[in-house]
Protein backbone atom coordinates (compact mmCIF):
# COMPACT_ATOMS: atom_id res chain seq x y z
CA UNK A 1 0.00 0.00 0.00
CA UNK A 2 1.09 3.59 -0.71
CA UNK A 3 0.07 6.83 0.95
CA UNK A 4 -1.14 9.77 -1.06
CA UNK A 5 -1.45 13.31 0.32
CA UNK A 6 -3.17 16.39 -1.06
CA UNK A 7 -1.30 19.41 0.26
CA UNK A 8 -3.99 21.69 -1.12
CA UNK A 9 -6.41 20.13 1.34
CA UNK A 10 -4.13 19.66 4.36
CA UNK A 11 -4.95 22.06 7.20
CA UNK A 12 -2.09 21.06 9.47
CA UNK A 13 -4.25 19.43 12.15
CA UNK A 14 -1.42 16.96 12.92
CA UNK A 15 -3.96 14.23 13.67
CA UNK A 16 -2.06 12.02 11.23
CA UNK A 17 1.15 12.61 13.20
CA UNK A 18 -0.66 11.56 16.37
CA UNK A 19 -1.75 8.28 14.86
CA UNK A 20 1.39 7.31 12.94
CA UNK A 21 4.41 9.48 13.84
CA UNK A 22 6.75 7.04 12.09
CA UNK A 23 5.21 7.98 8.74
CA UNK A 24 3.75 11.50 9.05
CA UNK A 25 5.32 14.77 10.13
CA UNK A 26 4.56 18.47 9.64
CA UNK A 27 6.85 20.91 7.87
CA UNK A 28 7.51 24.50 8.96
CA UNK A 29 4.43 25.68 7.10
CA UNK A 30 2.39 23.10 9.06
CA UNK A 31 1.71 20.92 6.04
CA UNK A 32 1.93 17.16 6.16
CA UNK A 33 5.23 15.54 5.17
CA UNK A 34 5.53 11.83 4.41
CA UNK A 35 8.64 10.06 5.66
CA UNK A 36 8.10 7.75 2.68
CA UNK A 37 5.19 6.82 0.46
CA UNK A 38 5.35 3.11 0.96
CA UNK A 39 3.70 1.68 4.06
CA UNK A 40 5.38 -1.23 5.80
CA UNK A 41 3.06 -4.06 6.84
CA UNK A 42 3.47 -3.43 10.57
CA UNK A 43 2.63 0.27 10.11
CA UNK A 44 -0.58 -0.35 8.21
CA UNK A 45 -2.96 -0.26 11.18
CA UNK A 46 -1.51 3.05 12.42
CA UNK A 47 -1.64 4.53 8.94
CA UNK A 48 -5.25 3.47 8.55
CA UNK A 49 -6.02 5.22 11.82
CA UNK A 50 -4.20 8.31 10.52
CA UNK A 51 -6.34 8.29 7.37
CA UNK A 52 -9.50 8.02 9.48
CA UNK A 53 -8.38 10.81 11.77
CA UNK A 54 -7.64 13.44 9.12
CA UNK A 55 -10.64 15.79 9.35
CA UNK A 56 -10.29 17.04 5.78
CA UNK A 57 -9.50 13.71 4.09
CA UNK A 58 -6.17 15.01 2.83
CA UNK A 59 -4.44 11.60 3.06
CA UNK A 60 -5.46 8.21 1.73
CA UNK A 61 -4.12 4.78 0.86
CA UNK A 62 -3.76 3.31 -2.62
CA UNK A 63 -2.83 -0.17 -3.76
CA UNK A 64 0.77 -0.18 -4.98
Amino acid sequence: MNIEADLGKCQGFANCVMAAPEVFDLDDASLVVLARRQVLPDELEDVREAVRSCPVEAIWLTES
Binding site: G12, F13, A14, N15, V17, M18, A19, P21, D25, L26, E49, R52, S53, P55
Partner: protein, 399 residues
Protein backbone atom coordinates in the same frame (compact mmCIF):
# COMPACT_ATOMS: atom_id res chain seq x y z
CA UNK B 1 -28.04 -14.76 11.18
CA UNK B 2 -26.38 -11.68 9.76
CA UNK B 3 -28.25 -8.45 10.51
CA UNK B 4 -30.28 -7.17 7.59
CA UNK B 5 -31.20 -3.71 8.73
CA UNK B 6 -29.09 -1.31 10.75
CA UNK B 7 -30.62 1.90 12.07
CA UNK B 8 -28.24 4.63 13.21
CA UNK B 9 -29.73 7.50 15.21
CA UNK B 10 -27.77 10.76 14.96
CA UNK B 11 -26.44 11.81 11.55
CA UNK B 12 -23.24 13.57 12.48
CA UNK B 13 -19.60 12.49 12.69
CA UNK B 14 -20.05 9.26 14.67
CA UNK B 15 -23.24 8.14 12.93
CA UNK B 16 -21.87 8.81 9.45
CA UNK B 17 -18.66 6.97 10.22
CA UNK B 18 -20.57 3.91 11.39
CA UNK B 19 -22.65 3.95 8.21
CA UNK B 20 -19.63 4.26 5.95
CA UNK B 21 -17.61 1.83 8.04
CA UNK B 22 -20.32 -0.82 7.60
CA UNK B 23 -20.01 -0.45 3.83
CA UNK B 24 -16.23 -0.49 3.79
CA UNK B 25 -16.30 -3.71 5.82
CA UNK B 26 -18.55 -5.33 3.29
CA UNK B 27 -21.92 -5.03 4.97
CA UNK B 28 -24.59 -5.33 2.26
CA UNK B 29 -27.83 -4.92 4.22
CA UNK B 30 -29.89 -1.78 4.71
CA UNK B 31 -28.35 1.21 6.47
CA UNK B 32 -30.68 3.98 7.67
CA UNK B 33 -29.23 7.13 9.20
CA UNK B 34 -31.77 9.21 11.13
CA UNK B 35 -30.97 12.78 12.10
CA UNK B 36 -32.95 15.77 13.30
CA UNK B 37 -30.85 18.42 11.55
CA UNK B 38 -31.62 19.80 8.09
CA UNK B 39 -28.12 19.41 6.61
CA UNK B 40 -25.98 16.64 5.24
CA UNK B 41 -23.74 15.30 8.04
CA UNK B 42 -21.23 18.05 8.85
CA UNK B 43 -18.14 18.68 10.89
CA UNK B 44 -18.24 20.69 14.13
CA UNK B 45 -14.62 21.62 14.98
CA UNK B 46 -14.36 24.14 12.10
CA UNK B 47 -17.52 25.92 13.33
CA UNK B 48 -15.67 27.62 16.18
CA UNK B 49 -12.47 28.00 14.13
CA UNK B 50 -12.49 28.54 10.35
CA UNK B 51 -16.22 29.33 10.02
CA UNK B 52 -16.51 31.74 12.93
CA UNK B 53 -13.30 33.54 12.04
CA UNK B 54 -14.65 33.99 8.52
CA UNK B 55 -12.29 31.85 6.43
CA UNK B 56 -14.78 29.05 5.58
CA UNK B 57 -18.36 29.15 4.39
CA UNK B 58 -20.54 26.96 6.66
CA UNK B 59 -21.26 24.56 3.79
CA UNK B 60 -17.57 23.69 3.59
CA UNK B 61 -18.10 21.64 6.77
CA UNK B 62 -20.38 19.18 4.95
CA UNK B 63 -18.77 15.74 4.95
CA UNK B 64 -20.82 14.34 2.05
CA UNK B 65 -23.36 15.41 -0.51
CA UNK B 66 -26.75 13.66 -0.56
CA UNK B 67 -25.65 11.95 -3.78
CA UNK B 68 -22.53 10.57 -2.17
CA UNK B 69 -24.59 9.10 0.66
CA UNK B 70 -27.05 7.57 -1.79
CA UNK B 71 -24.20 6.13 -3.87
CA UNK B 72 -22.94 4.32 -0.75
CA UNK B 73 -26.39 2.89 -0.13
CA UNK B 74 -26.99 4.97 2.96
CA UNK B 75 -30.54 6.24 3.48
CA UNK B 76 -30.29 9.57 5.26
CA UNK B 77 -33.53 10.79 6.84
CA UNK B 78 -33.10 14.48 7.64
CA UNK B 79 -35.27 16.57 9.98
CA UNK B 80 -36.34 13.36 11.71
CA UNK B 81 -36.22 13.26 15.48
CA UNK B 82 -36.17 9.88 17.18
CA UNK B 83 -38.43 9.86 20.22
CA UNK B 84 -38.21 6.33 21.56
CA UNK B 85 -36.32 3.09 21.40
CA UNK B 86 -38.12 -0.22 21.97
CA UNK B 87 -36.38 -3.56 21.89
CA UNK B 88 -37.64 -7.08 21.37
CA UNK B 89 -36.08 -10.51 20.88
CA UNK B 90 -34.92 -9.95 17.32
CA UNK B 91 -34.06 -6.26 17.39
CA UNK B 92 -36.53 -3.50 17.93
CA UNK B 93 -37.99 -0.28 16.65
CA UNK B 94 -37.08 3.39 16.73
CA UNK B 95 -40.11 5.70 16.74
CA UNK B 96 -39.83 9.19 15.32
CA UNK B 97 -41.58 12.47 16.05
CA UNK B 98 -43.28 12.48 12.62
CA UNK B 99 -45.05 9.22 13.48
CA UNK B 100 -42.81 6.96 11.39
CA UNK B 101 -41.10 3.85 12.73
CA UNK B 102 -37.82 2.24 11.78
CA UNK B 103 -37.38 -1.45 12.52
CA UNK B 104 -33.86 -2.62 13.18
CA UNK B 105 -31.83 -5.75 13.68
CA UNK B 106 -29.14 -3.60 15.28
CA UNK B 107 -29.38 0.01 16.40
CA UNK B 108 -26.50 2.45 16.89
CA UNK B 109 -27.09 5.44 19.15
CA UNK B 110 -25.03 8.39 17.91
CA UNK B 111 -27.10 11.33 19.17
CA UNK B 112 -24.13 13.26 20.52
CA UNK B 113 -24.53 16.09 22.96
CA UNK B 114 -26.08 19.55 23.10
CA UNK B 115 -24.72 22.75 24.55
CA UNK B 116 -25.63 23.26 28.21
CA UNK B 117 -27.81 26.31 28.77
CA UNK B 118 -28.94 28.22 31.83
CA UNK B 119 -32.66 29.04 31.86
CA UNK B 120 -32.28 32.17 33.98
CA UNK B 121 -29.95 33.73 31.39
CA UNK B 122 -32.16 33.25 28.33
CA UNK B 123 -32.46 36.55 26.44
CA UNK B 124 -32.04 37.42 22.77
CA UNK B 125 -28.29 37.78 22.33
CA UNK B 126 -27.38 34.95 24.69
CA UNK B 127 -26.07 32.09 22.56
CA UNK B 128 -24.34 28.74 22.55
CA UNK B 129 -22.32 27.13 19.76
CA UNK B 130 -22.97 23.58 18.62
CA UNK B 131 -24.67 23.71 15.22
CA UNK B 132 -24.47 25.42 11.82
CA UNK B 133 -27.49 27.53 12.80
CA UNK B 134 -25.62 28.66 15.92
CA UNK B 135 -22.55 29.70 13.95
CA UNK B 136 -24.70 31.50 11.35
CA UNK B 137 -26.41 33.61 13.96
CA UNK B 138 -23.13 34.28 15.76
CA UNK B 139 -21.50 35.38 12.52
CA UNK B 140 -24.40 37.75 11.87
CA UNK B 141 -24.12 39.09 15.39
CA UNK B 142 -20.35 39.57 14.98
CA UNK B 143 -20.99 41.76 11.92
CA UNK B 144 -22.78 44.27 14.18
CA UNK B 145 -19.50 44.58 16.12
CA UNK B 146 -20.91 43.74 19.54
CA UNK B 147 -19.14 43.87 22.85
CA UNK B 148 -18.82 40.15 23.48
CA UNK B 149 -18.77 38.37 26.82
CA UNK B 150 -17.84 34.70 26.80
CA UNK B 151 -19.08 32.77 29.81
CA UNK B 152 -16.90 29.74 30.51
CA UNK B 153 -13.24 29.27 29.77
CA UNK B 154 -13.45 25.84 28.18
CA UNK B 155 -12.33 24.97 24.67
CA UNK B 156 -15.33 26.33 22.85
CA UNK B 157 -15.38 29.57 24.86
CA UNK B 158 -11.70 30.10 24.19
CA UNK B 159 -12.09 29.41 20.47
CA UNK B 160 -15.02 31.81 20.24
CA UNK B 161 -12.92 34.46 21.99
CA UNK B 162 -10.08 33.77 19.57
CA UNK B 163 -12.30 34.09 16.48
CA UNK B 164 -13.89 37.26 17.86
CA UNK B 165 -10.48 38.87 18.49
CA UNK B 166 -9.49 37.82 14.98
CA UNK B 167 -12.40 39.98 13.83
CA UNK B 168 -11.28 42.81 16.10
CA UNK B 169 -14.14 42.63 18.59
CA UNK B 170 -14.02 43.72 22.21
CA UNK B 171 -13.97 40.47 24.21
CA UNK B 172 -14.29 39.60 27.90
CA UNK B 173 -13.99 36.00 29.07
CA UNK B 174 -15.34 35.00 32.49
CA UNK B 175 -14.31 31.75 34.16
CA UNK B 176 -15.51 30.70 37.61
CA UNK B 177 -12.37 28.66 38.33
CA UNK B 178 -8.99 30.28 39.03
CA UNK B 179 -7.94 29.89 35.36
CA UNK B 180 -9.47 29.02 31.99
CA UNK B 181 -9.27 25.34 30.96
CA UNK B 182 -8.22 24.48 34.50
CA UNK B 183 -11.10 22.05 35.00
CA UNK B 184 -9.38 19.78 32.49
CA UNK B 185 -5.77 20.89 32.40
CA UNK B 186 -5.14 22.17 35.93
CA UNK B 187 -4.12 25.60 37.15
CA UNK B 188 -0.56 25.77 35.75
CA UNK B 189 -1.62 25.23 32.16
CA UNK B 190 -4.76 27.29 32.72
CA UNK B 191 -2.62 30.25 33.79
CA UNK B 192 -0.57 29.88 30.62
CA UNK B 193 -3.80 30.00 28.61
CA UNK B 194 -4.97 33.10 30.47
CA UNK B 195 -1.65 34.74 29.56
CA UNK B 196 -2.08 33.77 25.92
CA UNK B 197 -5.59 35.25 25.82
CA UNK B 198 -4.52 38.46 27.55
CA UNK B 199 -1.59 38.95 25.17
CA UNK B 200 -4.18 38.75 22.39
CA UNK B 201 -6.34 41.47 23.86
CA UNK B 202 -8.97 39.46 25.74
CA UNK B 203 -10.05 40.75 29.12
CA UNK B 204 -9.88 37.58 31.27
CA UNK B 205 -11.78 37.53 34.57
CA UNK B 206 -11.30 34.41 36.70
CA UNK B 207 -12.45 33.05 40.03
CA UNK B 208 -15.76 34.86 39.74
CA UNK B 209 -19.22 33.57 38.84
CA UNK B 210 -22.15 35.02 36.91
CA UNK B 211 -24.82 36.68 39.01
CA UNK B 212 -27.13 37.23 36.06
CA UNK B 213 -27.60 38.61 32.58
CA UNK B 214 -29.44 41.94 32.39
CA UNK B 215 -31.37 43.45 29.52
CA UNK B 216 -34.65 43.42 27.71
CA UNK B 217 -35.34 42.59 25.05
CA UNK B 218 -31.63 42.23 24.14
CA UNK B 219 -28.60 41.78 26.37
CA UNK B 220 -27.24 44.86 28.12
CA UNK B 221 -24.82 43.53 30.68
CA UNK B 222 -23.43 40.50 32.44
CA UNK B 223 -23.28 40.93 36.20
CA UNK B 224 -20.73 39.05 38.27
CA UNK B 225 -20.98 37.89 41.87
CA UNK B 226 -18.23 40.32 42.94
CA UNK B 227 -20.39 43.24 41.78
CA UNK B 228 -18.61 43.80 38.45
CA UNK B 229 -20.95 44.76 35.61
CA UNK B 230 -19.72 43.97 32.08
CA UNK B 231 -21.55 45.99 29.44
CA UNK B 232 -22.27 43.50 26.68
CA UNK B 233 -24.31 43.19 23.47
CA UNK B 234 -23.65 39.50 22.90
CA UNK B 235 -23.05 36.64 25.33
CA UNK B 236 -21.74 33.23 24.34
CA UNK B 237 -22.23 30.57 26.99
CA UNK B 238 -19.67 27.77 26.78
CA UNK B 239 -20.20 25.71 29.91
CA UNK B 240 -20.10 22.21 28.53
CA UNK B 241 -22.40 19.77 26.81
CA UNK B 242 -25.15 17.40 27.91
CA UNK B 243 -25.42 13.96 26.23
CA UNK B 244 -28.65 13.46 24.23
CA UNK B 245 -29.86 10.29 25.95
CA UNK B 246 -33.43 11.21 26.95
CA UNK B 247 -35.08 9.87 23.80
CA UNK B 248 -33.58 6.41 24.40
CA UNK B 249 -34.75 6.18 28.00
CA UNK B 250 -37.11 3.21 28.12
CA UNK B 251 -34.97 1.11 25.81
CA UNK B 252 -33.63 -0.78 28.83
CA UNK B 253 -30.21 0.82 28.52
CA UNK B 254 -28.03 2.05 31.36
CA UNK B 255 -28.01 5.83 31.23
CA UNK B 256 -25.52 7.40 33.56
CA UNK B 257 -24.27 10.69 32.16
CA UNK B 258 -24.17 9.02 28.75
CA UNK B 259 -25.09 5.57 27.47
CA UNK B 260 -23.02 3.09 29.42
CA UNK B 261 -21.23 0.62 27.12
CA UNK B 262 -18.72 -2.18 27.37
CA UNK B 263 -15.23 -1.77 25.92
CA UNK B 264 -16.51 -2.45 22.39
CA UNK B 265 -19.45 -0.07 22.42
CA UNK B 266 -22.13 -2.63 23.25
CA UNK B 267 -24.93 -1.13 25.35
CA UNK B 268 -27.15 -4.23 25.33
CA UNK B 269 -28.11 -6.96 22.89
CA UNK B 270 -28.04 -5.44 19.37
CA UNK B 271 -27.63 -1.94 20.75
CA UNK B 272 -24.47 0.10 20.37
CA UNK B 273 -23.52 3.66 21.22
CA UNK B 274 -20.73 5.80 19.79
CA UNK B 275 -19.37 9.34 20.04
CA UNK B 276 -20.24 12.11 22.46
CA UNK B 277 -23.34 10.31 23.79
CA UNK B 278 -21.48 7.15 24.81
CA UNK B 279 -19.65 6.18 27.97
CA UNK B 280 -17.42 3.21 27.10
CA UNK B 281 -15.40 1.15 29.51
CA UNK B 282 -11.74 1.97 28.84
CA UNK B 283 -9.35 -0.82 29.86
CA UNK B 284 -6.26 1.44 30.11
CA UNK B 285 -7.97 3.73 32.65
CA UNK B 286 -10.15 0.98 34.19
CA UNK B 287 -13.15 3.29 34.11
CA UNK B 288 -16.22 4.15 32.05
CA UNK B 289 -15.40 7.43 30.32
CA UNK B 290 -17.35 9.72 28.04
CA UNK B 291 -14.96 11.39 25.63
CA UNK B 292 -16.15 14.41 23.64
CA UNK B 293 -13.36 14.37 21.06
CA UNK B 294 -13.48 14.11 17.32
CA UNK B 295 -10.97 11.28 16.86
CA UNK B 296 -12.51 9.22 19.66
CA UNK B 297 -15.87 9.36 17.88
CA UNK B 298 -14.27 8.14 14.64
CA UNK B 299 -12.36 5.33 16.35
CA UNK B 300 -15.44 4.13 18.22
CA UNK B 301 -17.47 4.25 15.01
CA UNK B 302 -14.83 2.21 13.20
CA UNK B 303 -14.83 -0.34 16.01
CA UNK B 304 -18.61 -0.75 16.10
CA UNK B 305 -18.93 -0.91 12.31
CA UNK B 306 -16.47 -3.80 12.25
CA UNK B 307 -18.27 -5.60 15.06
CA UNK B 308 -21.68 -5.32 13.36
CA UNK B 309 -20.16 -6.39 10.04
CA UNK B 310 -19.15 -9.61 11.76
CA UNK B 311 -15.45 -9.08 12.41
CA UNK B 312 -13.93 -10.20 15.69
CA UNK B 313 -13.08 -7.08 17.69
CA UNK B 314 -11.62 -6.87 21.15
CA UNK B 315 -11.87 -3.97 23.56
CA UNK B 316 -10.98 -0.57 22.11
CA UNK B 317 -7.84 0.82 23.71
CA UNK B 318 -7.33 4.04 21.68
CA UNK B 319 -5.99 6.79 23.93
CA UNK B 320 -8.22 9.89 23.76
CA UNK B 321 -6.75 12.75 21.78
CA UNK B 322 -8.08 16.26 21.11
CA UNK B 323 -6.85 19.49 19.64
CA UNK B 324 -7.88 23.10 19.88
CA UNK B 325 -6.73 26.12 17.89
CA UNK B 326 -6.65 29.31 19.91
CA UNK B 327 -4.91 32.55 19.04
CA UNK B 328 -2.65 30.81 16.55
CA UNK B 329 -1.52 28.11 19.00
CA UNK B 330 -2.31 24.45 18.44
CA UNK B 331 -3.15 22.94 21.82
CA UNK B 332 -3.12 19.13 21.89
CA UNK B 333 -4.29 16.93 24.70
CA UNK B 334 -3.87 13.18 25.10
CA UNK B 335 -5.06 10.67 27.66
CA UNK B 336 -6.84 11.82 30.78
CA UNK B 337 -5.25 14.94 32.15
CA UNK B 338 -6.98 16.08 35.31
CA UNK B 339 -6.45 18.72 37.97
CA UNK B 340 -6.03 15.86 40.48
CA UNK B 341 -3.09 14.34 38.64
CA UNK B 342 0.44 15.64 39.26
CA UNK B 343 1.52 18.09 36.55
CA UNK B 344 5.14 17.76 35.38
CA UNK B 345 6.69 20.10 32.83
CA UNK B 346 8.66 18.01 30.32
CA UNK B 347 9.98 20.73 27.99
CA UNK B 348 9.59 24.43 27.23
CA UNK B 349 7.94 27.06 29.39
CA UNK B 350 4.17 27.61 29.48
CA UNK B 351 4.63 31.39 29.76
CA UNK B 352 6.47 31.49 26.45
CA UNK B 353 4.11 29.49 24.32
CA UNK B 354 5.66 26.18 23.30
CA UNK B 355 5.80 23.45 25.93
CA UNK B 356 4.95 19.85 26.74
CA UNK B 357 3.45 18.86 30.10
CA UNK B 358 2.65 15.47 31.55
CA UNK B 359 -0.03 14.41 34.02
CA UNK B 360 0.93 11.59 36.35
CA UNK B 361 -1.03 9.42 38.76
CA UNK B 362 0.74 6.91 41.02
CA UNK B 363 3.99 7.70 39.18
CA UNK B 364 2.62 6.76 35.74
CA UNK B 365 1.84 9.02 32.78
CA UNK B 366 -1.95 9.27 32.37
CA UNK B 367 -2.15 12.30 30.13
CA UNK B 368 -0.28 15.08 28.40
CA UNK B 369 -0.71 18.52 26.92
CA UNK B 370 1.34 20.39 24.35
CA UNK B 371 1.32 23.85 22.84
CA UNK B 372 2.57 23.65 19.22
CA UNK B 373 4.40 20.36 19.85
CA UNK B 374 2.70 17.67 17.73
CA UNK B 375 5.64 15.28 17.49
CA UNK B 376 6.25 15.23 21.22
CA UNK B 377 2.54 14.77 21.91
CA UNK B 378 2.45 11.80 19.55
CA UNK B 379 5.15 10.23 21.76
CA UNK B 380 3.26 11.11 24.93
CA UNK B 381 0.21 9.35 23.54
CA UNK B 382 2.24 6.13 23.37
CA UNK B 383 3.55 6.71 26.86
CA UNK B 384 -0.02 6.91 28.16
CA UNK B 385 -0.91 3.71 26.31
CA UNK B 386 2.07 1.97 27.94
CA UNK B 387 1.54 3.58 31.39
CA UNK B 388 5.14 4.84 31.27
CA UNK B 389 6.93 5.77 34.48
CA UNK B 390 6.89 9.57 34.66
CA UNK B 391 10.58 10.19 35.42
CA UNK B 392 11.68 8.06 32.48
CA UNK B 393 9.10 9.78 30.29
CA UNK B 394 10.42 13.25 31.12
CA UNK B 395 13.97 12.11 30.35
CA UNK B 396 12.92 10.55 27.06
CA UNK B 397 11.14 13.75 26.00
CA UNK B 398 14.10 15.92 26.99
CA UNK B 399 16.57 13.75 25.05
Amino acid sequence: MAPRRIVIVGASLAGLRVAEGLRSHGYLGEVVLIGDEDHPPYDRPPLSKQVLSGTWEPSRTYFRTPDELAARGIVHRRRTRATSLDRDVSGGVVRCADGTEERFDHVVVATGARARRVGAWELPGVQTLRTIEDVRSLTEAFARRPRLTVVGGGFIGAEVASAARHRGLDVTLVEALPAPLSRVLGTEVGMACAGLYRRNGVRVLTGVAIEGVQGGPGVESVDLTDGTRIDSDLVVVGIGAVPNTEWADGGGLRLDGGIVCDASGGAGARVWAVGDVARWYHPVFDAHIRVEHWTHATEQAHHVARAIAGQAVGPMTAIPYAWSDQFGVKIQIVGRPSPDATFVLASGTPEQGRFVGLYAAAGRVVGGVGFDQPRAIARVRRMVAGAAEVGAAVQALAG
